[in-house]
Symmetry: C2
């Protein structure tokens, strides 16, 4: 036992007291009226406390609960872990921290400073486990960092994180009310709110949370097929004519993946032409429907993208809906990325017509900052989700339970067990309110506007398409000075194609920021900037541009 | 500011010190050699610390990071949450705590003691959010409780939980090495170990973690189809003959679901007869293959179950493999539930022949106690997973990255974004070693043996099938005294059918324990006991039997 007295404490305070409540307080079950038990007191040395050493080098997993007398070791181990995590969190929001500390796969596999990824027969001590946790974070990528722009999902929402910690502590499964009563109801109520925002008549509809947008989109294709050809469920695709699906050439590849997986064939997913901004041209849809019909194919399904992955384009849903109605086709709106804009009074018009869709994918884990994974498939017609997927497994969905078994949602899913993805989202909605999500979205879109205005006429930049961004996507080429005078042509194209990858590699090596790039159609590699993290400010946008110029100036 | 001095502290100590390390220590990045900073000191009042109040009623989500000066509120909020969670964990392992506090859906929807599930436009205070967290746990089900036997997944592994907390803090996505370098490598190394345990020649093989066993099984059917009819990927099911799949009538319903979803049709999933123990009769497989061929169908795929959901039966893999080889069929082993037995030298013989399978589903989140979700699909042939699923999305899987892009695993998946399910499992494996999983499995199987021995000749019990359990499943009827003298017949059947649901309802109302029941074929409702939680002891088994008798005696 020793007094730990040499840690300095300066504002913001880094000495915290963490105290278990005594049981009687704890039993109250509700916080209201309780004294808060966390403290930060710099003014008085007595506020620090005496500490004994816990030697984790002699403790093992087997010493934790449910081991006899394992309570103390369990709590201390978890608190030590939380200490690692809270330090990570603080640093993630600190711009002096690197976004990543890049290493090649072979370097990590060889073992960085003793960080050994190999598994063995014998247990490691809890000390080593805590070291492994620290190293795992150290060599990872800080996706919550205000200068991480690499993916549509970014940020680290503290409420969402709290929700995830609770979810994993509850460690249950969504398939029945029996073992997830609260979560099942939260899912139902949250889906109802989302459906209201989509705007289906009288708030009717159904839905389920799935493990990501690709699976949600797969659901939409399955349900469409079940609606028009229910016998496919039992008899297979041979019971249907040659069905075709339509989606934009700019749409997410998951529609094609679904076509391949579900037995349509990827060639029967017909790609629609887009305008210069990446939006579907409705006339092209109609032409391709007619062409397919002429060939003897049967059009089934149209996907309209609300917020495309690269351009952030919103397909004209109303015009597409007119055509779907005319030809009696299923209309799906893939709002995995853009669905969040429904929460914003300023921007929801971009999804105008979504209330005419038969199904909608909407990933709160993208634009709304909910931790991964959180994706919903919403369906206008009640009952069809269960009709499509139910297999009525007797061992799970017993009809003779004592409660209303219509709350057992498992048979609506293509999964059996289903992770609890709802709680973090529900908790964030409670904590932020609808207006909180609205502010989040409006702020991110404002930042994109800021970036667009900053670079649209700036020397050395060329926009991939003209006009203000519809979503937070801003697509641009950085033209290094060496290429600025060069005439258009193959040589310039080849050189420009290599600029973004080179800058990206430098960014990753230096660890200062991360942004995505890709080619698109006949366009050579360009940067795709996106903002979905509430931590981003204008200065971070400025920083990105400075970094691109610093790294690209001599290319 | 006030001194908080009225909490009693008795062994096991419930007063804990939690101290942020100062930054210089923190920067070391490795624990070795550091003094541990957590303490529990009951011997001295000075060891307690002074606390200031944090009034969460005036704090909102917007006051947390990334808010300016939000660090302190963030840490305190998270610690308060951790306090709630660690109390929940302690009680989960305390047998005097109820497994659940049952309420009907309408009761929870009406709002229990102010627990309001509805979402609104305006934000709630952090105080309310913490109350909501507490209530969510209060009205949930303690799946980690030593008397929760309701599902194949149970228990609350502390290392696994720590892994989940870290995973959600890292909040990243498995699709590229770029943003999940450490996790991608952990997945690769862990899959390699699992493949070694399956025993494919020279340790070759491939695999991926998926969102549950149903999706893993779906993968197996997709890959089998791609192996024999690769053109289905592009041209659809019309490019293949009428394919049929075979699986046991006792197998998991996900094979049928996959058949329906992927366009085979559920009727083309042919169910195989089983022996009295629920194991496939190989001769029936061969007969049905021949019958299908005679009808002009083309057999494609056979699923052998290693650990069936209800009986815990292991199909005879070697005999099935002989037939698959003879007729050139894909052999999948669904070891979602039984795969864990591969870790046990004593029990792995039950999967004898698994090394002849083309693919294997194995859910560490079931028998191995890994938190939900954690399921792997393993595939013998390298490259076929990517061949089957790749769509080569340019915006995600750029070929011109600076690192070896073969580590970008996303295009092997039917998902796009993919949750990090590997870390908790990897961390548990590190912490327990292979021998730790072996001990876990052996212990759970010993407990089932104990239950079987206890009730096989006990008055009032009837086993659903004879013989020792192959897995931890023990299936039995409890016969209340009123039915014991009754002759076999429809009346007794009808009455017996109602016994398990009634007892189960009483269990849930009283909250003392939970165990599953279901009918199977022509067998009326019976209890299915399973053990997968390391916290279970013989006394918990005794308790279950006492409860069944206490509740059932007057039925």
């Amino acid at each position: 036992m020793e007094v730990f007295g040499d840690n300095s404490c300066s504002p913001p305070c880094n000495t915290l007291g963490f105290l278990q409540k005594n049981n009687s307080l704890d039993e109250k079950g509700r916080l209201a009226g309780q004294k808060n038990l966390l403290s930060c007191d710099n003014s008085d040395r007595d506020a620090r406390f005496r500490l004994t050493e816990t030697d984790f080098s002699n403790l093992f997993a087997r010493d934790l609960l449910p081991a006899k007398n394992g309570e103390e070791a369990t709590i201390q181990f978890l608190l030590e872990l939380v200490d690692i995590l809270t330090n990570y969190i603080k640093k993630t929001f600190d711009r002096s921290t690197k976004v990543l500390d890049f290493h090649h796969p072979h370097q990590l596999l060889e073992g960085m400073e003793g960080f050994n990824l190999e598994l063995s027969d014998q247990p490691e001590s809890l000390e080593q486990i805590l070291v492994d946790c620290r190293d795992t974070l150290k060599y990872g990528v800080r996706t919550g960092h205000p200068r991480f722009f690499n993916q549509l999902s970014s940020g680290l929402d503290i409420i969402g994180l709290a929700g995830e910690w609770l979810t994993s502590t509850a460690n249950t499964n969504m398939f029945t009310y029996e073992i997830a009563p609260v979560f099942v109801l939260m899912e139902q109520l949250t889906l109802k709110k989302m459906i209201e925002m989509v705007g289906w008549p009288s708030g009717e509809g159904d839905g389920i949370f799935s493990p990501g947008g690709a699976i949600s989109n797969m659901y939409s294709v399955m349900i469409a097929r079940y609606k028009y050809y229910p016998e496919v469920k039992t008899k297979g695709m041979s019971a249907a004519p040659r069905l075709v699906l339509f989606t934009s050439e700019h749409s997410h590849y998951s529609i094609k993946k679904a076509g391949a997986a579900l037995g349509f064939g990827s060639e029967n997913v017909i790609l629609l032409s887009t305008d210069e901004r990446g939006r579907v041209i409705p006339a092209d849809l109609e032409a391709k429907i007619l062409e397919a019909k002429q060939k003897g194919y049967v059009p089934l399904f149209v996907n309209a993208t609300a917020g495309s992955t690269v351009y952030g384009a919103f397909d004209p849903i109303n015009e597409i809906a007119d055509i779907c109605e005319k030809y009696n086709l299923w209309l799906h709106v893939d709002g995995a990325w853009g669905g969040g804009l429904l929460m914003s009074r300023k921007h929801r018009h971009k999804l105008s017509g979504v209330e005419r869709a038969n199904s909608v994918t909407w990933n709160p884990h993208k634009m709304m900052g909910v931790p991964l994974q959180c994706s919903a498939i919403l369906v206008r017609e009640k009952g069809i989700l269960a009709g499509c997927n139910s297999m009525c497994a007797g061992y799970l969905f017993q009809p003779d339970k004592q409660y209303d078994v219509t709350y057992d949602t498992g048979d609506k899913a293509i999964q059996c067990g289903r992770h609890v993805d709802i709680f973090k989202f529900w908790l964030m909605w409670k904590a932020k309110g609808t207006i909180g999500f609205e502010q989040h979205i409006d702020k991110c879109l404002d930042l994109s506007q800021y970036l667009y205005n900053k670079i649209k006429n700036r020397e050395g930049y060329q926009m991939v398409f003209d006009g203000e961004p519809q979503h937070t996507n801003v697509c641009f080429w950085y033209i290094p000075p060496s290429l600025r005078g060069m005439p258009e042509g193959e040589e310039r194209r080849e050189k420009l194609h290599k600029v973004a990858p080179k800058i990206k590699a430098m960014m990753m090596e230096s660890g200062t920021t991360m942004v995505g790039y890709q080619p698109q159609g006949n366009k050579v590699n360009f940067f795709r900037m996106v903002v979905s993290n509430l931590a981003v400010t204008q200065s971070d946008i400025d920083f990105l541009i400075d970094e691109i110029e610093r790294m690209g100036v001599d290319l």
